[in-house]
């Protein structure tokens, strides 16, 4: 223990994880109104208004057009890129009647069935998805070895 905190180094590491967006301050600020919109669906009366006219309901929130289009398309990977957080977005897919499994599978490029089968088989292995940099280094080493 000991030594000063380096918040920049701390945050920097998060960008090195493949296929993962950590919900940092930067994302929280970008997605503020998107997430607050999603949260509003915790009230039954808001869900009714939302279902009656999604676009009109979205227009009540100071979100970017990109964010609104991604919500309408239920493009969750895009929503994560635009500052969405999964626990907030859960209010959108729960309102749609989707489970976490169904909604989460849409982000993996797999069908729900294939995704569920992967989970039943023990889930996605951490091998090869720990670090972008480590993957690049390993690839580099492999290439070097081959070219020898």
């Amino acid at each position: 223990m000991g030594g000063p905190i380096d918040i920049h180094a701390y945050l920097g590491e998060f960008d090195d994880i493949p296929g993962t967006r950590v919900y940092t301050a930067k994302r929280a600020r970008q997605g503020y109104h998107l997430n607050q919109f999603a949260m509003s669906l915790m009230k039954a009366e808001n869900r009714e208004r939302w279902k009656a006219d999604e676009r009109a309901y979205l227009d009540l929130w100071p979100m970017t057009e990109d964010q609104k289009l991604a919500v309408l398309a239920r493009d969750y990977n895009r929503l994560l890129d635009l500052g969405g957080n999964i626990y907030f977005l859960a209010k959108v897919f729960s309102t749609d009647g989707l489970s976490f499994l169904q909604a989460v599978s849409t982000m993996t490029g797999m069908s729900v069935e294939d995704y569920q089968a992967m989970m039943i088989a023990g889930g996605r292995s951490p091998e090869g998805v720990r670090s972008i940099k480590a993957n690049r280094d390993a690839e580099g080493a492999a290439v070097t070895k081959e070219s020898r």
Binding site: M1, Y10, L11, E13, F14, I17, P18, G19, T20, R21, V22, Y23, T24, A25, A28, Y32, N35, Q36, A38, M39, L41, M42, K43, A44, R47, Y76, N77, L80, N85, I86, Y87, F88, A90, K91, V92, F93, S94, T95, G97, S99, F100, L101, V104, S105, M107, T108, G109, Y115, M118, M119, I120, G122, G123, R124, S125, P126, V129, R130, S131
Partner: protein
């Protein structure tokens, strides 16, 4: 004198709440999990505490982006299940224990933990699913509950070390409560899971088992795991395991494992569950100024 009798750790996967609420336990997908928890239900009925300090995280239910407390302790009379988008779960209201909760809150603040005191809030699956797993479907929960909500959604969450230290401070606070109460501390969330992005579905059973192993005995290695290791090894939502360290810290110097259950999957997640007993519940003394002043007065 109140005392901490046991610690329980338990995933709080929403789908488990659905399985409970809609009686799906006989379904082949859910049956192994039902069987995994059955012995704990029986054991818990025989070792029923008066109060559970239930460490969990709010999943954007009680707290939105307007306010994000790192550590929030519920001092209210009761809490209703939250509406997370599909209506509130049909489970009993959660009864609090304001006497003990306020006592702990006050003690923790004097002990230099910067608590947020909560008197009214709804509680989401993070709190109600573990109750269902351990108590089934009673008309009324058989224990009072002190909710302890930890931010693990917006980064940074508290460090593992800080969580463990909070557990130790909770132990000191419980011990100084004059009423004779049996108290359990539950750590919830985890184990490995990732609910987002192309890497979703990550499970790391080996790491999870290592984590379960090190909850027993007198090692304190777990308090030094940095956030980045949880993220890389256990998926973006595996960070919830820092909450288990509050439970572990509260059990003191040395613990013994009474039972363990580990199963993959429930929905996107590894179900992990452990029951721990303190062997030596000693925790380091507080080293605060107000502590010294109040001690002097008590002498």
């Amino acid at each position: 004198m109140a005392r901490i009798t046991h610690g329980i750790a338990c995933s709080h996967i929403p789908a488990l709440g659905v399985a409970s609420d809609f009686d799906k336990w006989e379904d082949p997908y859910w049956k192994p999990i039902q069987e995994g928890f059955a012995p704990t239900r029986k054991w818990e009925a025989e070792n029923l505490p008066d109060v559970v300090i239930l460490v969990y995280n709010d999943h954007a239910s009680a707290f939105d982006m307007k306010i994000i407390p790192t550590f929030a302790i519920g001092c209210g009379e009761s809490y209703k299940p939250a509406d997370e988008g599909w209506g509130p779960r049909a489970v009993p209201d959660v009864e609090g224990h304001p006497d003990l909760a306020w006592h702990i809150a006050q003690s923790l603040i004097l002990d230099e933990f910067d608590m947020t005191i909560i008197n009214e809030m709804d509680v989401d699956h993070g709190l109600t699913v573990p109750l269902s797993m351990v108590f089934g479907k009673p008309a009324k929960w058989p224990v009072k509950v002190i909710p302890l909500a930890v931010n693990v959604v917006t980064y940074p969450p508290p460090s593992g070390n800080r969580c463990w230290a909070l557990g130790e401070a909770i132990a000191r606070a419980v011990e100084s409560f004059p009423e004779d109460l049996k108290v359990q501390v539950w750590g919830t969330g985890g184990m490995s899971h990732q609910l987002q992005g192309p890497r979703a579905g990550l499970i790391n059973a080996e790491w999870d088992q290592m984590f379960l192993d090190k909850l027993s005995g007198d090692t304190q290695e777990l308090r030094c795991i940095p956030h980045i290791e949880y993220l890389r090894e256990t998926g973006s939502e595996g960070i919830e395991m820092v909450m288990w360290l509050i439970m572990r810290g509260a059990l003191g110097k040395e613990t013994r494992e009474l039972r363990r259950f580990y199963h993959v999957p429930a929905s996107n997640t590894a179900v992990g569950h452990i029951v721990l007993e303190p062997v030596n519940g000693a925790v380091p003394p507080s080293a605060t100024v107000e502590g010294a002043a109040s001690q002097h007065l008590a002498d």
